[in-house]
């Protein structure tokens, strides 16, 4: 096997952050290399340097033994490097074929020639089981397929090295399997593949060698097979990690949230939630497991009043809130932590203070007859910042200048400081490093102890298992089953997530509508 890519002493800094710190890396033809590291470890940044999106501040890149200077993506592509980004780089309104040839000269310049491309796409589709309709428009395709398009894009550009940035984050267990098959085929054909992830099991399943990054530095490169998940986790985080921790036992109290036969549609106006029913009580955390895009997000939004229900009812503390406005529901002391803090959780251009009171500024304790009382705001902000330990030089700072973890802390502070009766937490740990994740968990447990009812939506099975009192699994908008956490079996749940199995007290999980 011959060396394809070698990185020497790559350094990349961003204002206030050292994203990569003297990183060395060497990849050979036909190998599948895992790049492991928690959020912010610098994986994406490193690969962006290789792909020419960023320019490293220092360090050398060797391609097939020769030193190369990659100034822009074009150079990388020319060399034969292909990258599938964490956030897909596809143009939604364009067709698959158009996306695949985007930026390439066509045989009949200046004219487009899609027919040939489409043929080729089908061909390699056959070869690597990457089946897509070349004429379909991207926005019509589910993410799994979009990922295939990205891979096809790279292959069409004669990539010899394929970089996949957290490819499995958006896939169902089934889809992950298919992806692995594809990757193995590609590797057999001599392609080198860099597989970025922070999911230990996957890494061990597909890669022979694993390079672990932490805080921008390479910790070590080890053989996947003779390293245990536990050890990898340790390298990754730099300390012992307790994947499962015991939570105090508390008896559930009165019913706070009761959802009956609820259904709703998503932004593309397709049915997303289909006849869901469940209850959450005080001192109880109901975990909603499921692969992204199976209606969990929509469910949470409906309960928060942000999305209208097409059927069924939601009632909080006995009052029917199905038709209530978001603010009315907020007024009922309901907290909602949205899944995407950057776009819906925070106003990044607003100061921390303004964000902290974003949901309560209109309440009498912050404003009188339309006038905000700056004194009260500042008082509240300082207290919240102290209580939730937000790391910032000042409350007047714009939220966008905070690190991800601290941004999430601001959201938590906003939502939890009012001792809510109901907490709807939709993927509150997404994109957070383990420390911050644990912090969120701690907050959830405290809220639970204070007597809140908590609806905890997450795609990470581990945290669901460790946190919930009961677990409901959603698949295609329905609840496949609700099981008590203690006697939950991870494989059963996996199967329910994949929709191949339903069990437990799946209360009226609307067969009639399904």
């Amino acid at each position: 096997m011959t060396e394809l890519l070698r990185l020497e002493k790559i350094c990349k800094t961003f204002p206030g952050v050292i994203a990569n710190d003297n990183v060395d890396l060497s990849i050979e033809r036909g190998e599948i290399r895992a790049l492991l590291g928690e959020n912010g470890a610098g994986k994406t940044t490193l690969m962006n340097c290789v792909y020419g999106v960023y320019r490293p501040n220092s360090g050398k890149i060797f391609w097939k033994g020769k030193e190369v200077h990659i100034h822009r993506a074009r150079d990388a592509i020319a060399l034969g490097i292909g990258m599938v980004h964490q956030h897909f780089m596809l143009v939604p309104p364009l067709t698959v074929a158009e996306n695949v040839i985007l930026g390439l000269p066509s045989p009949r310049e200046p004219l487009l020639e899609l027919s040939k491309v489409e043929a080729q796409i089908r061909e390699s589709g056959e070869k690597y089981r990457l089946l897509v309709d070349p004429k379909a428009r991207i926005w019509q395709l589910p993410v799994g397929i979009q990922q295939r398009v990205e891979i096809l894009k790279a292959l069409y550009r004669k990539a010899e090295l394929l970089i996949l940035d957290e490819p499995t984050a958006v896939l169902t267990p089934g889809e992950v399997e298919e992806l692995f098959v594809i990757l193995r085929k590609l590797a057999e054909d001599g392609l080198a593949i860099i597989f970025i992830s922070h999911k230990l099991e996957e890494v061990r399943a597909i890669c022979e060698k694993v390079t672990v990054l932490r805080g921008g530095r390479v910790v070590d490169t080890v053989n996947a097979c003779d390293t245990s998940a536990r050890e990898l986790a340790k390298m990754m985080v730099g300390r012992e990690v307790f994947l499962k921790f015991d939570k105090p036992k508390i008896e559930p109290g009165e019913v706070v949230l009761s959802v009956k036969n609820l259904s709703a549609r998503d932004n593309r106006d397709l049915p997303a939630v289909r006849g869901v029913s469940f209850e959450v009580r005080r001192h109880e955390i109901l975990g909603i497991a499921g692969v992204d895009g199976n209606g969990q997000t929509e469910l949470a939004e409906v309960i928060a009043g942000l999305r209208e229900a097409t059927g069924g009812t939601v009632s909080i503390l006995g009052k029917d809130t199905t038709k209530k406005t978001p603010r009315e529901i907020i007024a009922m002391n309901v907290a909602y932590i949205p899944p995407d803090r950057q776009h819906t959780g925070l106003l990044l251009d607003f100061s921390i203070t303004e964000n902290l009171v974003g949901k309560a500024f209109w309440k009498p304790d912050f404003s009188r007859s339309g006038f905000l009382s700056k004194k009260k705001l500042d008082l509240f902000a300082d207290r919240a910042i102290r209580e939730f330990d937000v790391r910032t030089p000042g409350a007047g700072l714009k939220a966008k200048l905070l690190s991800g973890g601290n941004q999430q802390k601001v959201v938590l502070a906003r939502e939890l400081s009012g001792n809510p009766d109901l907490v709807i937490a939709s993927q509150p740990t997404r994109g957070l490093d383990i420390g911050a994740t644990e912090y969120v968990h701690k907050q959830m447990l405290e809220a639970r102890a204070r007597g809140a009812a908590i609806l905890f939506v997450s795609t990470e099975l581990e945290e669901i298992l460790s946190l919930s009192d009961r677990i409901a699994v959603m698949y295609e908008g329905q609840i496949m089953g609700i099981v008590p956490a203690q006697d939950a079996d991870i494989h059963e749940i996996g199967e329910m997530m994949a929709g191949v199995r339903r069990l437990g007290e799946a209360v009226g999980s609307g067969e009639k509508m399904g």
Binding site: G16, P326, G345, F350, K359, K374, G394, E438
Partner: protein, 425 residues
């Protein structure tokens, strides 16, 4: 704990000052380039600029003019900036301004026997309503049907201005004169009431508004007011008050200033502004925070339109006292650069309005003294805007803020949050 390093205050001040400094430098650059043009025309740029400056601030007269020019621009600027900050890009300030002027005039020539303290607010109110009315149509369309406001406000400008032109040609009922024209008596129609034309004049223009409706002059105020009690005897005071320029200056600029303060509070110290800015920054996040986005947009359009309308009334009540065709053209469109060069901050708007007003006042003097044609002045104005907007863009403030933040976080010994929590788990 949030410990502020002691340097923070002056740093913050420095950072803020860039908001003003950069546009200033940009404008100097613009004048440098314009200089070439002026030379090409065969005039001496230094003299030209001297004239410009003199025309803007040189004499009491000049200052008075600058102040009168500035007032309506402050309002249109505020209108645009409030809308823009709140996600409603109001290109229609022009039309709203004209309708406002029309409404104010109509009230000012119709309710002729009301006292000033009733009539002036009434005129302003009418103007605000007229402006708001024109703006709320696009507002509703955007809020309820998702139409882009740039297009709709733009189109409505033309309609509004043509209506204005037409109203100036429809005779208006005047109790004090017999309403016949060329010995044809004027029919009593609804038109007589929405029209504002001066029946006594062979040209399209409205009658002057009644004395009572005119904004009080600074001079007269000083003569009467309590100030006179204080300095009444003082010689310099006598002189000052006697100065024709002082007598010509009205309350308009002061009212404008008041509205700057009001709008600052509305934007940053009131729930209305909070919601509006939230919607402007990110409607989705705003909605998730429980803010009713459509309602906010509609309210925003109303406020923005009302401000533009008020601008019209200020010009009528304060300066021209009547409307005629081509009355203060472009005050509305100028509001756009005024707002954006002013960094969308009320104070900034006032400063850039001052700049525009001065440019307008000085430009004429420049023409008179150095016979530089108006077209050259237009180019200079354009260059000034271009450079100012480009300058405002190098947002040193936040750049420096980030840099300092980096240092401070290191200084504060920001270690990965992890370590702290481990013990807890």
């Amino acid at each position: 704990m949030t410990d502020k390093p002691k340097t923070y205050i002056w740093q913050a001040l420095l950072e803020k000052s860039f908001n003003i400094l950069i546009p200033v430098f940009a404008i100097l650059a613009a004048f440098l380039i314009s200089g070439i043009l002026i030379i090409a025309w065969g005039a001496n740029p230094l003299e030209a600029y001297k004239a410009l400056l003199a025309g803007a601030f040189g004499t009491p007269n000049a200052i008075a003019t600058t102040m009168t020019r500035l007032s309506p621009l402050v309002f249109t600027g505020l209108a645009v900036s409030y809308g823009y900050r709140s996600g409603f890009f109001n290109i229609g300030a022009e039309g709203q301004f004209f309708l406002g002027a029309l409404a104010a005039t109509w009230v000012g020539i119709t309710f002729t026997n009301l006292p000033g303290w009733v009539l002036i607010p009434l005129c302003a109110l009418a103007a605000a309503l007229a402006g708001a009315f024109l703006a709320v149509i696009p507002g509703l369309l955007k809020a309820l049907r998702g139409f882009n406001e740039v297009l709709t406000t733009l189109l409505l400008n033309y309609v509004a201005i043509q209506y204005f032109e037409w109203a100036l040609r429809i005779e208006h009922y005047r109790p004090d004169i017999n309403v016949t024209w060329d010995d044809k008596p004027i029919k009593w129609t609804f038109l007589n009431w929405i029209g504002v034309k001066d029946v006594t004049q062979p040209f399209p223009q409205s009658p002057g508004i009644v004395e009572a409706a005119e904004l009080p002059k600074l001079g007269t105020l000083l003569k009467t007011g309590l100030l006179n009690q204080l300095f009444g005897q003082a010689h310099w005071y006598e002189e000052f008050v006697a100065n024709p320029a002082v007598n010509r200056m009205t309350l308009a600029p002061i009212i404008a200033l008041v509205f700057v303060v009001i709008m600052y509070f509305v934007l940053f110290r009131m729930t209305v502004g909070f919601q509006a800015r939230a919607v402007g920054v990110n409607p989705d996040a705003a909605r998730f925070m429980g803010i009713n986005v459509p309602r906010t947009i509609i309210i925003t359009s109303l406020i923005s339109g009302a401000l533009a309308g008020l601008g019209g009334s200020i010009e009528v009540l304060g300066a021209q006292h009547r409307v005629i065709p081509n009355f203060l053209v472009n005050a509305g469109f100028d509001g756009i650069p005024v707002a954006l060069i002013g960094q969308l901050h009320p104070a900034g708007v006032f400063l850039s309005a001052l700049f525009f007003g001065a440019l307008r006042a000085g430009a004429n003097k420049m023409q008179i003294l150095t016979q530089v044609p108006i077209s050259v002045v237009y180019v200079i104005q354009a260059l000034a805007i271009l450079f100012a907007i480009a300058g405002a863009l190098l947002d040193l403030q936040s750049k420096i803020k980030i840099a300092r933040l980096a240092k401070q976080t290191e200084a504060a010994g920001e270690q990965p949050v992890a370590e702290k929590e481990v013990s807890g788990a």
